[in-house]
Point group: C2
């Protein structure tokens, strides 16, 4: 499939797909005329990239982790594993931070609700 179809299937813009490739997150074969060709596997790969990007990982970080799927090399795998574990830690503390923020928000909501109820008494 060409870039337009991959874009449609994944929801990533053509621009983003080219950017992913430029950053080394995505590989494509080229037709004789230079157009990018993808197969079905790429759909899943893009979904993974989107998920990680949405999780706040930089493309640089993803580039260290994901290529080990395509280029299974012993040293690269070790390096990727290190990056992944590191990123897992970062992700977990981000999650903890968000949960804490949500709790703080809940307290604010509660204060606010109480305030409104008290006002309603007037």
């Amino acid at each position: 499939m060409r870039i337009g179809e991959l874009s449609a299937r994944t929801g990533a813009s053509r621009r983003s797909l080219r950017y992913y490739e430029q950053q080394g997150l995505l590989v494509s074969t080229r037709s004789p005329s230079g157009q990018r060709c993808y197969d079905d596997d790429h759909v899943q790969r893009v979904a993974l990239i989107q998920m990680f990007l949405a999780a706040g990982m930089s493309s640089r970080t993803i580039a260290e982790m994901v290529p080990c799927m395509t280029e299974p090399n012993m040293d690269r795998a070790r390096q990727a594993l290190t990056a992944m574990n590191q990123e897992r830690t970062r992700l977990s503390s981000t999650i903890d931070g968000l949960i804490a923020a949500r709790e703080a928000l809940d307290r604010l909501i509660d204060v606010n609700r109480t305030f409104l109820v008290n006002m309603a008494d007037d």
Copy 2:
């Protein structure tokens, strides 16, 4: 206290504190010579702002929510409550997304680990 001390206590740069004020997240009184003056309450307030910013909220969003603490007004409170609930929803789905990303990452780690173990057999 002046801006330097608030910065030291919160870890937010002076630049950021001025920016928060400019965005309406933080209020300060001014000394006769125009310098910003804060009291202890501001430390907590800044901590809350930092927490929400780190949770990916825009300063605009925070500006809709937080001022209801300083300016308790009925209409404003209602509007803030709406914003807060909306933001809580967004936050929750972000958290879900991050957790899903972490699970995907865990699977990648596992694949990678297995690969390394198999290689070690050679």
